[in-house]
């Protein structure tokens, strides 16, 4: 393996583009955090003229933050649990069995990831309204499950593929039935895959905006939908308060994303496509 490497054009581009890109991303995040602690609206200074936590207090009086966090957690966990129950058996079949029309089934599983949520989300939302599930927790969970089921199948599949077939044969020979094979052997052996798929999905669902936005109501708005609503609300809402809400959302997401880095690689599904 060639280890010495000249910087070259690609190296210059790597550092240049990444540094500019990340400086801007950090600038965006940092200016939100700074602004949420500003006493007055920013009038064009690098730092707020005076620091204060009054907008944070204002935020907690304006929104029911506890309810927001609770509903976000509830919807995310329900989405991930139900998606996992559906995705795991499907991932097992895709990983281990050959059957006619497998490519077609694979295509069905891939499409919700390839087609952006707003394109299929609007017709789906119309249907959800029609069956009177809109604004309910069930409705929000169902729409969020669409891309999550696909995503989980793709993440879990390689973990099941790695388990040798002889283990299944051996367990069968020793008298285990299918259920015992699953509960005592396959599931324990694929715990890393289940964990990885779950935590990556949690991060995705929390920041998934469009689908929740289209079907949620006042009581079922998640953090990210509330953030959007505040920015676009008619009438005046102090921007420092919105920034404070954004900081809460940022902290929740970044904490979960940091955990997800420990158990899985969020980039892996893109190499499977």
């Amino acid at each position: 393996m060639n280890t010495s490497r000249k910087l070259g054009f690609s190296g210059i581009m790597f550092y240049l583009v990444n540094i500019i890109f990340m400086l801007n991303v950090f600038g965006i995040l940092l200016s939100v955090i700074m602004n949420s602690f500003g006493e007055t609206a920013n009038r064009g200074t690098w730092l707020p003229e005076a620091f204060s936590i009054k907008w944070w207090e204002y935020l907690f009086g304006f929104h029911d933050i506890k309810h927001l966090l609770w509903i976000t957690m509830l919807i995310t966990l329900l989405t991930v649990i139900f998606s996992l129950l559906i995705a795991y058996p499907a991932a097992y079949i895709i990983a281990k069995r050959r059957f006619a029309g497998k490519n077609l089934i694979m295509g069905l599983f891939l499409l919700p990831i390839l087609i952006p949520p707003i394109s299929y989300g609007l017709p789906l939302a119309i249907l959800i309204y029609k069956v009177k599930l809109a604004t309910t927790v069930a409705g929000v969970v169902i729409v969020n499950m669409v891309p999550t089921v696909s995503f989980m199948i793709l993440v879990i599949m390689p973990f099941i593929e790695q388990i040798g077939d002889n283990i299944e044969s051996a367990s069968r020979m020793l008298g285990a039935n299918k259920l015992q094979y699953f509960t005592r052997i396959l599931i324990p052996l694929t715990i890393p895959g289940i964990l990885s798929a779950s935590i990556l999905s949690i991060v995705r669902v929390i920041s998934m905006f469009e689908l929740t936005f289209l079907v949620s109501g006042a009581k079922t708005q998640t953090l990210v939908v509330q953030l959007f609503a505040d920015v676009n609300a008619p009438g005046f809402r102090p921007y420092q308060m919105i920034d404070a809400l954004a900081v809460i959302f940022f902290l929740v997401t970044i904490a979960l994303a940091a955990i997800s880095m420990r158990v899985g690689n969020p980039t892996q599904i893109y190499t499977k496509i």
């Binding site: 393996m1 060639n2 000249k6 581009m13 790597f14 583009v17 890109f21 991303v25 965006i28 200016s31 939100v32 920013n42 009038r43 064009g44 129950l85 559906i86 995705a87 058996p89 499907a90 079949i93 281990k96 069995r97 050959r98 059957f99 089934i105 069905l108 390839l114 087609i115 952006p116 707003i118 394109s119 299929y120 609007l122 017709p123 939302a125 119309i126 249907l127 169902i142 499950m145 089921v149 696909s150 299918k178 920041s207 905006f209 469009e210 289209l214 990210v224 953030l227 959007f228 920015v231 676009n232 921007y239 954004a246 940022f250 997401t253 970044i254 994303a257 690689n265 190499t271 496509i273």
Partner: protein, 287 residues
């Protein structure tokens, strides 16, 4: 691998929940939308929705606006991602951390980034402040609530995704091919253009297709950082407004169907084209 090719009871039973779920909430809404788009509010068959879309200049213009935002952003994001993915083809120091940071905008989602951009690129934001102190602008003005705001936000969202896909492909190209080219006397430019670039092509196509389809349905940033009623009235926004403000589900479905058709054509074209490219050597390595 089990050699049975048939549909065993197990195969059917295990696939059943996932397939039925996606048929019910992914495929059926699509069929339902096709049906809605081909009927009027009374439920009678009509092509009127499509005729209206292609003859009403306000609606037709959304296609142009959407393309004007999504195509340049996609091209720029892929062109910039190619040298970076090439540089990272054999791994870099702290790769996990670097990819985590690059993926941050995707992880945090479009709403948070757009919310921050309103402050950051706004009239009193840090970008304007910097430009002013460098003497590059005379008067402060807002960089957002226009075409630039939406395009910049879209770039921040799609660039990491394209890059990740490309890195996956490039790191799968075996280094012996590059070494062979160098040993046979190719310069580094020749090695790149004659060996690496053609092998990266399938990845470039996939990354382009995925970035373009997601940029083509730009919605959230067009509202938060643009002027959704005029300058950045993109297709997804128009579809949304027809459903949620005018309650015209038929016309909303028409726009959605047109968007999905465009996206399916691009994905289908790229996948068909990819299979015709040589990919033997790039099939090894991590993936």
């Amino acid at each position: 691998m089990d050699r049975r090719k048939g549909w065993s009871a197990e195969t059917i039973g295990f696939l059943f929940p996932a397939v039925v779920f996606l048929l019910a909430v992914f495929i059926y809404p699509f069929i339902y939308a096709v049906q809605l788009s081909l009927t009027d509010s009374e439920g009678a068959f009509t092509l009127g929705n499509y005729v209206k879309f292609f003859t009403d200049l306000v609606e037709l213009k959304t296609v142009w606006i959407t393309l004007k935002i999504s195509l340049p952003v996609t091209i720029l994001s892929i062109v910039l991602a190619i040298p970076i993915a090439y540089f990272m083809r054999r791994g870099i120091k702290h790769e996990k951390l670097v990819t985590f940071l690059m993926m941050l905008p995707m992880t945090l989602g479009v709403v948070l980034i757009a919310e921050g951009m309103i402050t950051y690129f706004g009239r009193n934001g840090w970008v304007m402040l910097l430009l002013e102190q460098l003497g590059l602008v005379a008067d402060r003005s807002s960089l957002i609530h226009n075409y630039f705001g939406v395009a910049a936000s879209l770039f921040i969202q799609t660039f990491p995704m394209g890059l990740i896909i490309l890195i996956g492909y490039t790191s799968g190209i075996h280094s012996s091919l590059e070494m062979a080219a160098t040993m046979l006397g190719a310069t580094s430019a020749q090695t790149f253009w004659r060996v690496m670039f053609p092998l990266m092509m399938p990845g470039i196509l996939i990354a382009f297709a995925l970035n373009f389809t997601s940029a083509f349905s730009v919605f959230t940033s067009a509202i938060m950082l643009g002027q959704p009623t005029s300058q950045t009235r993109v297709m997804a926004y128009a579809a949304y407004v027809h459903a949620y403000e005018y309650f015209d589900y038929n016309f909303c479905s028409t726009i959605c169907i047109l968007m999905i058709i465009v996206q399916l054509i691009i994905i289908g074209f790229v996948f068909a084209f990819r299979n015709r490219l040589y990919k033997g050597a790039s099939a090894v390595g991590k993936g």
